[in-house]
């Protein structure tokens, strides 16, 4: 084993230890301690991840097997970690951003009682642990373990404030919707195991590349597997049709939202598909489906975000939309672009959420942007960082968002011009609603209550420092993937990921690239201007027509409720009220009742009269004799 990889097992282990300490010792630990443990463990794994990242950058990478999780005849599933470019990159994202969020949380959650404070950090650590497991796993089963783990942690954290049944309801929704995806994912894993006899990435990919199209692994198999995996991904990464849990996941504390949206959870789907890129490259049909679904999600979410007033909801839908972009990239075969966007998005989305958290914190829990405005004066750092975040997500050069989004748009263009058009429009929408948010929150005049105004204050350092760091990253994060057209062989990320995801060498003239870039940048600038014109001063407007439709989120939740949830429970009631007692059980009891009844009736044969007895006997005898002598003869 590579000497530098010997510590790999510590990366997930440290958060787990943190979880155990905080979880078991929650009644005894002081807030400082649990905060320290929570953040410290993550910091530890971040450092180790850095070492490993260095080693990987030096061209190393391998699969470290610890013990056999399942070993039986015809199937061996080791509990093993795979360390390569992709996983090491994600390790950095998860631990790095995770650490910042932990630090931020220490101050954000300070009002909680020490017990629930420790509980909170134990959950956070468990969350990070599961995500790390997911990323490190060298086969689909370990990946699935982490996959379910993040589902569980999201459930625990969304429902963190267990007093509020609305929140716990949202938590249940998140878990169950994830389970729907998980089922598809599981079926895909089973299919792979049955066909290839293994679940390890390397073996599966080798097998498929060897036998693709043959009876061993036909094209149908490939399509089925890839589709099932994708359905799994839609659950975790909040794509159509399983995205509705993510906006509701706002119920959790704001740092948790940051964690879910930026570092962990939602990126799992992207990771999984990127990890399986070898299979996907063989399934063009699936790829186009993915790209269309991603695009549709991006557009739908963007439109919804246009008319949301809850600051976190806007961000949530923007996440869904950005994830849509990533899937678009995956669908167009630009895996690197997708991962690139995951990276940059992690930076600025974490930034935005933590910023919004800072705002909410300052507003004393108020989340409705209609009651905000003009905060730029009081919350200077927050404003500055938030602005950077908006610029980044809008995709203005030279901020990180620009490069990743540009890569995606380019790939879409090459793959399917129509998609490019829609994607570009969606990008404008993004810029529009983000700056709407910015203006409504920080510009104009304050619209909250006086005491809120009195309460307004910049957040403490523990919260602002992470903001600043993230802001820096959001600015500079994109420079690791500068396309050739701007700067010759500066696409460091592409070269770094090429061994895993394959290099994307697309033949397109620099002129076109310049054209596309200028198109998007110009459009974004115009949109921002338009937004400034509209929302510089807030006017309460009754949304009408299509906008009302957007405000109500396309009525998707209501649709699901009517079409799926209600029928299921109605059917359940029918089964309980009717089928079970009146049909199945009635049949069973009916037998017993029949016996009773028969007994009651047959008794009367025993009339008590000698005459009737003799008569019956004689009749019986006569019948027997007649039958014997005249029929059976």
């Amino acid at each position: 084993m590579q000497s530098s990889f010997q510590l790999a097992f510590l990366i997930p282990l440290l958060p787990l230890i943190g979880f155990l300490i905080n979880g078991l010792g929650r009644n005894w630990l002081s807030k400082q301690w649990s905060g320290l443990i929570g953040a410290g463990t993550i910091l530890g794994s971040f450092l180790i991840s850095l070492f490993i990242f260095q080693a990987v950058k030096a061209g190393q990478g391998e699969v470290i097997s610890y013990f056999d999780f399942i070993r039986m005849e015809g199937l061996r599933i080791p509990f093993a970690f795979q360390i390569d470019a992709l996983s090491s990159l994600f390790l950095l994202i998860i631990t790095g951003i995770g650490f910042l969020i932990h630090v931020y949380s220490i101050s954000y959650m300070h009002e909680e009682s020490s017990t629930s404070f420790a509980r909170y950090f134990s959950y956070l650590n468990l969350f990070v642990f599961s995500m790390l497991l997911l990323v490190l796993g060298s086969n689909y089963v370990v990946l699935f373990i982490g996959w379910e783990g993040v589902g569980l942690c999201s459930y625990l954290l969304i429902g963190f404030w267990i007093k509020n049944q609305q929140y716990t309801k949202a938590a249940n929704k998140a878990f169950i919707m994830n389970r729907i995806g998980d089922l598809a994912f599981l079926l895909a894993i089973f299919w792979l195991i049955i066909k290839t006899g293994s679940a390890s990435f390397q073996e599966v990919f080798d097998f498929i590349q060897a036998n693709q199209g043959t009876s061993k692994f036909s094209v149908t198999d490939i399509t089925i597997v890839t589709l099932l995996l994708f359905i799994g991904a839609t659950g975790k990464s909040a794509q159509l049709p399983l995205y509705t849990w993510l906006p509701d996941a706002m119920a959790g504390p704001t740092p948790v939202s940051a964690l879910i949206h930026a570092a962990t959870m939602v990126t799992a789907g992207i990771y999984m598909i990127a990890r399986s890129n070898i299979i996907y490259s063989l399934a063009p049909l699936t790829l186009s489906i993915i790209s269309w679904i991603g695009l549709a999600t991006a557009f739908l979410a963007a439109t919804i975000a246009l008319r949301q007033y809850d600051i976190k909801k806007v961000l949530a839908y923007s996440t869904v939309s950005q994830l849509g972009f990533m899937f678009l990239a995956l669908g167009s075969g630009a895996y690197i672009a997708a991962v690139f966007h995951v990276l940059t998005h992690a930076f600025f989305k974490a930034l935005l959420f933590l910023g919004s958290g800072s705002v909410i914190h300052a507003m004393g829990g108020e989340q409705d942007i209609r009651k905000m405005g003009g905060l730029s004066g009081k919350l200077k750092i927050t404003y500055a960082t938030f602005l950077i975040g908006c610029l980044a997500i809008a995709g203005l050069p030279p901020l990180s968002g620009f490069f990743s989004k540009d890569a995606i748009l380019l790939s879409a263009f090459l793959h399917q011009p129509l998609q490019y058009g829609i994607a570009l429009f969606t990008a404008f929408l993004t810029a529009f609603y983000m700056f709407r948010l910015l203006f409504l929150t920080f510009h104009g005049s304050f619209r909250g209550t006086p005491e809120q105004q009195a309460h307004l204050h910049e957040s403490p350092a523990l919260m602002t420092i992470p903001l600043v760091i993230l802001a820096i990253l959001s600015v500079a994060g994109g420079w690791i993937g500068i396309p050739a057209v701007l700067l010759q062989d500066a696409d460091w990320l592409g070269n770094f990921l090429a061994p895993v995801l394959g290099s994307t060498t697309h033949e397109v003239s620099h002129a076109t690239e310049w054209l596309l870039m200028s198109l998007s940048v110009g459009g974004v600038l115009l949109t921002i201007g338009f937004a400034w014109f509209l929302f510089r001063h807030y006017r309460a407007t009754e949304s009408r027509g299509i906008l009302r439709f957007f405000e109500n989120k396309w009525y998707v939740d209501q649709l699901y409720d009517r079409v799926i949830v209600q029928p299921i429970f109605y059917l359940g009631r029918i089964l309980k009220e009717w089928v079970e007692p009146r049909i199945i059980d009635a049949l069973v009891n009916g037998v017993g009742k029949t016996v009773q009844l028969a007994g009651r009736q047959i008794r009367f044969l025993q009339s008590g009269q000698i005459g009737s007895y003799v008569l019956l006997m004689v009749m019986a005898m006569v019948v027997v004799l007649l039958v014997q002598f005249f029929i059976r003869k």
């Binding site: 008794r603 009367f604 025993q606 005459g611 008569l615 004689v618």
Partner: protein, 112 residues
Amino acid sequence: MPINYYLFLAIALFSIGVVGVLTRRNAIIIFMCIELMLNAVNLLLVAFSKMHYNQAAAAAIPIANPGIDGQLFVFFIMVVAAAEVSVGLAIIVMLYRNIHSVDINFLNRLKH
């Protein structure tokens, strides 16, 4: 005289007895009908015994007095019948003491 005549006669007597049992309500008369059935059997047995004697004689089968056991049986039946009569009449009398009737239709405390 062929055996069938005896056979039919005996069966007729027996059937009369059965019909009597079926139709009459007086315990004593029912009992008499049963006796009639028994006597029908006696008649039949005697007839058969004679028949077997003739067959044996015709076939010259060297058995000591063939067919004798049939007649022996008859005596046993008479003895047993006598015993039954004594017990049966005792029972009927006992019943008469209690309900002052020998009509079997009054006997329906035990039913269902």
